[in-house]
């Protein structure tokens, strides 16, 4: 479990993910994680729920490639990406990215890198349901493209 990815319908337990990341490894002096959750506002719309579609097979392949690239760039003891699919409600957890390293700057940078590339290259799509009952596909954001470009 030192380096792993998961695409799943089920929720994840952040405390458990953290424990798994540092399990029995006393060189993991620095642990960073990110959790993305369904939030109430997006692009000015009142969000009620989300539906997450993905491209089975390609999603896992891309997440694994991003993880491998992070291992090449930084000294990591462990790292993990978990992304949920299916129907999610307000406040539900969507994504977990965790990194452990002997060095804090490596753990932070790798976690940001993983999120930036996940956002722009992993084939997931969000469809939002607003509180007024309307549905709409989430638009990709220029700032996410810019965030990913800084690692080139």
């Amino acid at each position: 479990m030192a380096f792993s990815i998961a695409v799943q319908i089920d929720d994840f337990d952040v405390g458990q993910e953290y424990s798994d990341l540092v399990a029995n490894d006393v060189s993991a002096g620095a642990v960073v994680f990110f959790v993305g959750r369904v939030r109430d506002f997006n692009d000015g719309k009142n969000i009620a729920s989300l539906s997450l579609e993905h491209y089975p097979g390609m999603t896992e392949k891309i997440l694994q490639q991003i993880l491998d690239e992070a291992r090449r760039r930084w000294q990591l003891v462990s790292a993990r990406i978990v992304h949920r699919i299916g129907d999610l409600q307000l406040g539900d957890q969507i994504v977990f990215v965790g990194t452990a390293s002997a060095h804090r700057e490596h753990a932070f940078q790798a976690a940001e890198f993983l999120m930036d590339f996940l956002k722009t290259s992993a084939p997931f799509w969000k469809k939002e349901k607003s509180r007024d009952g309307s549905f709409g596909w989430v638009e990709s954001k220029d700032k996410d493209d810019k965030a990913a470009k800084r690692w080139e």
Binding site: L52, H54, Y55, I94, V95, K119, A122, P123, F124, W125
Partner: protein, 82 residues
């Protein structure tokens, strides 16, 4: 045979999630797009969207690309996970 798959908005716009095209008819990605638009004129504008991403066998490609029997070609809008 080429397996063609569509996702998200594009899947909804085309009303189709996947279809198969004979490799005899399309040797390249450009030919595949032309073929799809000819067969389904209402798809033309959706498939002409320059923001669409294209993957062959789960790997992103840009520009034109040769196709081989058994390839899976995916068309989809910019991704919005995370």
């Amino acid at each position: 045979m080429i397996r063609v798959v569509f996702f998200a908005q594009l899947r909804e716009q085309l009303g189709t999630a996947k279809l198969d095209v004979s490799i005899e008819r399309v040797k390249t990605l450009s030919e595949l797009k032309q073929h799809l638009s000819l067969q389904n004129p209402s798809w033309e504008s959706a498939l002409a969207n320059t923001k669409l991403l294209v993957a062959i066998n789960h790997a992103y490609v840009k520009g034109n690309h040769a196709l081989a029997d058994g390839d899976e070609v995916a068309f989809f809008p910019p991704v919005t996970g995370g």
